[in-house]
């Protein structure tokens, strides 16, 4: 197990190295550099050249890359061109927002998806079964930003049940030691701040949850159906075990394996979805910032954020693989 984890972590190095080269080439081929974003269309050629020189963009690409790598080894990702703050600071400030949003979406997706998928499988062929399968197929077909707008229009703008924008009401002057707004509220005992942060999470969380929810329902249903047909379930029932025990120890435990894998694979999907959801709800997370960084040609931010996202994505998948062997002793990772 230990060797497996170490090997996977070591594999991360060449992957990141290759990714950083690709990113570097990509960024410097983007039409219109940061000078256009800063100056607009008005700047004179001299002003443009001056800005490029100040940012070190006039040097050969190889030297720029070397400088980037040298800083990277000291865990320094440079400074954002648009906000003039360190990329790592920006990331640490915004990443918690995306994490909170992702967790909310996952809680909604898992909390509804697993019971619904399980029930659909138990009542195979019933109306509930058809409705949940049909609904989940339809769920993957709704463009997430459209769903976000619909939710915002109905529940925030028309009914006014939820806030339409942001992470927390600006009238609440909360302290943010960790930037996880909900956690901050709980830690500092500012209950109203925590509640308000949760309130802001619900609509974007629902929009972001739609696709994972659909996928989890379907995988849970298929997996439970498969396990229900296994011999050991019949044996357990024949032994006279109560239905509750069979359900919990035999069916659910075995059926959860594919669900656990899919949850890991959904992280990438969630991060993609976060860009769209955060944009609609003006929710200050990494997705919104990345989106702005693309239009601002903020090279250091794009480079740093995408590398960090790749690291996190890989670590989550590693954690999923490890948890796999914890759920199922038959799967021994090597």
């Amino acid at each position: 197990m230990f060797r497996f984890i170490v090997r996977r972590l070591l594999l991360l190095i060449p992957t990141l190295f290759g990714l950083s080269i690709l990113l570097f080439i990509w960024l410097h081929r983007l039409p219109g550099g940061p000078e256009t974003a800063i100056l607009g269309e008005r700047g004179t050629p001299e002003m443009r050249a001056q800005i490029r020189r100040n940012l070190g963009l006039d040097e050969p690409l190889l030297i720029q890359y070397g400088r980037f790598m040298k800083r990277l080894l000291q865990f320094d990702l440079g400074t954002s061109i648009s906000t003039k703050r360190e990329v790592t600071t920006e990331f640490l400030q915004r990443f918690p927002g995306t994490v909170e949003l992702t967790i909310t979406a996952m809680v909604i997706a898992i909390g509804i998806g697993i019971p619904l998928g399980y029930l659909a499988a138990r009542r195979n062929g019933s109306i509930l079964d058809y409705a949940s399968v049909g609904g989940s197929l339809l769920g993957t077909c709704i463009p997430i930003f459209f769903l976000a707008y619909v939710l915002k229009a109905i529940f925030a703008e028309s009914l006014g049940w939820f806030p339409a924008i942001g992470r927390q009401d600006s009238s609440i002057n909360a302290t943010h030691p960790t930037n996880f707004f909900v956690l901050d509220g709980l830690m500092t005992r500012e209950w109203d701040a925590a509640a308000d942060a949760i309130w802001h999470l619900i609509l974007p969380g629902l929009a972001l949850a739609s696709i994972p929810l659909a996928i989890i329902v379907r995988i849970t249903r298929a997996s439970v159906l498969e396990v229900l047909g296994e011999d050991f379930v019949r044996t357990a029932e024949a032994k006279g075990l109560t239905e509750r025990v069979v359900r919990r120890r035999h069916v659910l435990r075995n059926a959860m394996l594919p669900v656990a894998t899919s949850i890991g694979l959904l992280t990438g999907l969630l991060l993609s979805g976060a860009v769209l959801t955060e944009t609609v709800f003006g929710f200050s997370g990494i997705g919104l910032f990345l989106y702005e960084a693309i239009s601002n040609r903020d090279y250091p931010v794009l480079q740093g954020f995408i590398l960090l996202i790749a690291v996190i994505f890989t670590l989550v998948n590693l954690a999923v693989d490890v948890s796999y062997s914890l759920i199922d002793p038959r799967v021994r990772v090597r």
């Binding site: 992957t15 690709l22 983007l30 498969e226 860009v275 790749a310």
Partner: protein, 323 residues
């Protein structure tokens, strides 16, 4: 090489092929069997009907529209002033009303089906082609290529892993940004997202096939390895890739809409396209939300058709799900 040994090799190649083919011809072939099951699945039929309608509209629709989908007739007639928040809704002349530029919404919706179909199909084909090339090379190298092959496989898979380690939409945004606004950009960007998925899928399926007996038989008959890979292993490994391609058609249409929403979509050849229509309508949600709902419903129904058919195909082709 003497003539005799050349002929012998050729004969052996034929034998190897026959050995592998006969397996399929006895009894019912995988595809015929799958098709039979597909026909009995109501979900597949609903999906197929939706798609048939969609393709029909995409082919003939643009010729039958009541108005030119690009002509700002509402503005010319002075009925549409979107700057002042006046965009008239449905009437007997304009079934779905006007859009924000005074164009006939119904005509745009019908005509838009063609661009949507083209963008979806082309981007999926781009992803499929590159993915199958990468995955096929990698799978052949891993399954049949020996030590050198494992090297090739390793390098290719690291590249694929790299693509997979960036969330799909970011990858598409990257490609869209680097290629600049052009009609083909969106298709390449959306296609790029599915490349690693197709590659991984085909490779895995090919490695599983490489351990099958018919490969061993062909190898022992002396069939050349590249020939085994191309004429035996790849055709037998394509089923999951084809299923995935059907499902990708659905996601491609949705992703095109997402790119348009982020301002990275481009109007393809000046024609209306549902994703772009939906993205543009977001600005007029306060005035006329229906402008967003029409293209959104069209996208959802079409994507639903592809998803239904894809899932039904997966069920039909998966031996584990046979009753």
């Amino acid at each position: 090489m003497t003539l005799a040994s050349g002929q012998k090799k050729e004969k052996l190649d034929r034998l190897g092929e026959l050995a592998a083919v006969r397996d399929d011809e006895q009894g019912v072939s995988l595809w015929r069997d799958a098709f039979r099951r597909l026909r009995r699945n109501p979900a597949a039929i609903v999906g197929a009907i939706i798609l048939a309608l969609f393709v029909l509209v995409a082919i003939v629709g643009p010729f039958l529209v009541p108005y030119d989908p690009a002509a700002p007739i509402g503005v010319q007639d002075g009925v549409v002033r979107s700057g002042q928040g006046i965009i008239p809704g449905p009437s007997s002349d304009h079934w779905l009303g006007y859009d924000h530029q005074g164009r006939d919404e119904f005509s745009r919706l019908i005509a838009g089906s063609r661009q949507t179909l083209i963008v979806g199909v082309v981007s999926t084909l781009i992803g499929l082609t590159v993915g199958v090339l990468l995955g096929g090379l990698s799978g052949a190298a891993a399954g049949l290529g020996g030590r050198w092959g494992r090297w090739v496989d390793n390098i290719l898979m690291r590249i694929v892993d790299m693509l997979l380690s960036v969330p799909g939409l970011l990858l598409a945004v990257s490609f869209a940004a680097i290629l600049g606004p052009s009609p083909i950009t969106v298709m390449i960007a959306v296609g790029a997202v599915s490349v690693p998925i197709f590659a991984r899928l085909l490779r895995g399926s090919m490695i599983a096939q490489s351990n099958r007996d018919y490969v061993l038989a062909a190898t022992s008959l002396g069939v050349r390895r590249w020939k085994i890979a191309i004429s035996h292993v790849i055709p037998n490994s394509l089923a999951p890739v084809i299923v995935q391609a059907t499902l990708t058609l659905a996601t491609a249409i949705i992703e095109v809409a997402a790119l348009s929403f982020l301002g990275l979509g481009t109007q393809v050849l000046g024609q209306p396209e549902w994703g772009l229509m939906l993205a543009e309508a977001q600005q007029y949600l306060g005035i006329r939300p229906a402008l967003a709902i029409y293209p959104a419903v069209a996208i959802i129904i079409t994507a639903f058709g592809f998803t239904l058919l894809g899932e039904a195909m997966r069920e039909a082709l998966d031996p584990k799900l046979r009753k």
